[in-house]
């Protein structure tokens, strides 16, 4: 007789699953309610069969924000675990699973409550069931990481990984994922590269060799490794890491695309260090394309990506395109922050430099005067040597050598005062002064 009820229960649960998969959640709800009733009647309200039916019903309630009904199921299951004393470790897993449901719904208050309950409970069984304790510590680490609480994240993940040494067999993929998050948290808190590199170097290949579809965590992990290699001057290693980051993030959800743009910008800087300017240019342009696709018109991310492209184009003398981009950058900053934003000084000055080189002198003079005015709005007012140098350049290009000499001399004096006589601009100005004197 009991077997026939078991079969009926299994059929109801299977039908509910099919209905859930096909988004017929009202049918699924009916199946599950019937399953709970059947299990409670024939196996008892505290039976594991009752739990088996209650659990998907609870998940369904939480999924559709029926929080009270969900907690009703939760309390029943929890009470049943309490009665079955030898299933404490399963109870801890249960708390973890429900915490993940809350986490996915961004209800972090409930997620933390459950994880803390799980942690307290897991302490009592840590010796026999270390795996579930590690699982809880790692989950806590993830949630703190997601909320940018890096110190707590580091504490939980370190403890989790430390205790994971006793877990046999060692679920490498789960712990490698935790190690990547730990490394990212350590990186965010500026912990030294020697500590972060080995964690990432050992953990990342575990994950990237496992999944055929790379994950966001892997992509960001490789990008972090790339940045660390880049800063350490290991540019070939950085290229590999950035390429792995790019290939992982390419396959991720559109919501991860901003990481891809970030990674391309870093990768472009690295390619410049490796002398591959063609690749660098393609990367900064791709970073900009992604930002334009993702963000509204005047978003700071687009501004930064455009500046990334101009930083690349200006030293290579591609002035026409740089002028257009900088005009757009200035317009965006003005729209967002007003015409007196102090950041405009640098961009107006750069645009003045470009206009001077394009021999669009009235525009150059206007924008350099604006840059100068902005520099004098600083507290205390600070004359900018670059602006003065660009006035010199403009006059020189216009053929007004006497005026150019005056500006260059003023700029030279300012550079020496502010940056010392070894500054790279000094030799540029000295050469320009010689040219102007010869042509005067």
């Amino acid at each position: 007789m009991s077997d026939s009820y078991k079969t009926q229960l299994a059929e109801l649960l299977s039908s509910a699953q099919t209905n859930l998969r096909e988004d017929r959640h009202e049918f699924a709800r009916a199946d599950l309610l019937q399953a709970v009733k059947l299990a409670e009647k024939h196996f008892g309200p505290h039976s594991s069969e009752a739990d088996e039916a209650l659990r998907p019903l609870m998940e369904l309630h939480f999924q559709y924000d029926e929080v009270d009904a969900g907690f009703g199921c939760f309390e029943k299951i929890d009470h049943n675990y309490e009665l079955r004393k030898n299933q404490t470790h399963e109870r801890v897993y249960f708390y973890n699973d429900v915490a993940v449901i809350f986490g996915n719904k961004r209800n972090n208050v409930e997620a933390y409550k459950l994880l803390n309950r799980a942690l307290t409970l897991s302490e009592k069984i840590a010796r026999e069931h270390v795996k579930v304790r590690v699982h809880t510590l790692i989950n806590l680490g993830y949630y703190h990481f997601r909320d940018d609480r890096y110190a707590e994240c580091i504490r939980f993940l370190q403890e989790g990984l430390q205790e994971s040494k006793a877990v046999k067999p060692h679920p490498a993929a789960e712990y490698a994922k935790a190690a990547i998050i730990l490394a990212r948290a350590l990186f965010e808190t500026k912990v030294s590269a020697e500590i972060v590199i080995p964690l990432l170097e050992h953990a990342l290949p575990v994950i990237s060799s496992l999944s055929h579809t790379p994950t966001e965590n892997t992509g960001i992990g490789y990008n972090t490794l790339g940045i660390i290699y880049y800063r350490a001057g290991r540019h070939h290693d950085a290229r590999y890491a950035f390429n792995k980051a790019g290939s992982a993030l390419e396959f991720c959800q559109p919501s991860s695309k901003h990481y891809l743009s970030h990674s391309y910008s870093w990768s472009a800087d690295n390619e410049i260090k490796l002398g591959n300017t063609q690749r660098a240019e393609s990367l900064v342009r791709k970073a900009l394309e992604i930002c334009v696709e993702l963000y509204p018109e005047h978003d700071p991310a687009i501004v930064n990506a455009k500046l990334g492209v101009t930083d690349f184009l200006i030293p290579r003398g591609h002035y026409t395109e740089s002028a257009t981009l900088l005009e757009e950058v200035i317009e965006s900053i003005e729209t967002r922050n007003g015409k007196d934003d102090p950041n405009l000084q640098r961009h107006c000055n750069n645009l003045g430099f470009i206009y001077a080189n394009l021999e669009r002198f009235p525009l150059a003079e206007g924008i350099l005067r604006r840059a100068q005015k902005l520099s004098l709005q600083n507290n205390p007012p600070q004359p900018c040597p670059y602006i003065t140098k660009n006035f010199g350049l403009m006059y020189q290009k216009m053929g007004y050598n006497a005026k150019a000499i005056i500006e260059y001399k003023k700029a030279r004096k300012l550079f020496v005062e502010l940056h010392g006589s070894e500054h790279s601009m000094i030799s540029f100005i000295d050469n320009a002064l010689i040219e102007c004197s010869e042509n005067a």
């Binding site: 580091i154 504490r155 370190q158 403890e159 990984l161 430390q162 994971s164 040494k165 060692h170 490498a172 993929a173 712990y175 490698a176 190690a179 350590l186 912990v191 500590i195 080995p198 050992h202 953990a203 290949p205 575990v206 060799s209 496992l210 055929h212 790379p214 070939h236 590999y240 390429n243 792995k244 790019g246 290939s247 390419e250 396959f251 591959n276 063609q278 690749r279 393609s282 791709k286």
Partner: protein, 174 residues
């Protein structure tokens, strides 16, 4: 005949793919831009050929000369490249990377064996589009094997190494 160049041409036209094809030939040539992969000229692109062979019973998509291992490379380096391609093929499944040990050419291959069934649009497009995605995903590992002799290994090796590392690891932050 299960398929013929006319079918393939119609599918490529339907998807508005750019290609070159000489009338009467069984070969189509096309190319894609890539995100990660760089060709020998340092550009983000590669070319591939589609062949209609064996009386239309098999369609082969071949991307030749993707990478090159200098023929004078030492045996150890060649072995590392072999191992890496083996691992890539294991992970990748659909696209196969082949290494000609004589001249060092590495190419990618996608076969569509038709037998007595006809070629479908989706079938052909799956083959074509799996090429750039496989290349972008695995190019960093293949290049690292060729240039630095660092092999791509299997998941188990990486997992064992990670386990050993964690066992010897001390939490860095007190």
């Amino acid at each position: 005949m299960p398929t013929n160049p006319t079918d393939i041409k119609a599918f490529l036209d339907q998807r508005q793919l750019k290609y070159s094809h000489e009338k009467g030939s069984n070969k189509f040539q096309s190319g894609f831009t890539t995100d990660n992969y760089l060709n020998a000229g340092g550009k983000n692109m590669f070319t591939f050929n589609i062949f209609c062979e064996d009386d239309g019973e098999i369609v082969r998509i071949i991307a030749p000369n993707l990478f090159s291992v200098p023929p004078q490379s030492k045996a150890k380096r060649k072995a590392v490249v072999w191992q890496t391609l083996h691992q890539v093929n294991w992970n990748c499944r659909l696209v196969t990377f082949e290494y000609d040990i004589n001249d060092g050419e590495i190419r990618a291959l996608y076969n569509i064996p038709l037998g007595d069934s006809s070629l479908g649009l989706q079938q052909l497009m799956n083959g074509i589009y799996s090429m750039p995605s496989a290349l972008d995903q695995y190019a960093p590992d293949i290049v690292r094997a060729i240039e630095f002799g660092i092999p791509m290994e299997g998941h188990r090796e990486y997992a064992n190494r990670f386990e050993k590392f964690i066992k010897a690891w001390t939490p860095p932050v007190a």
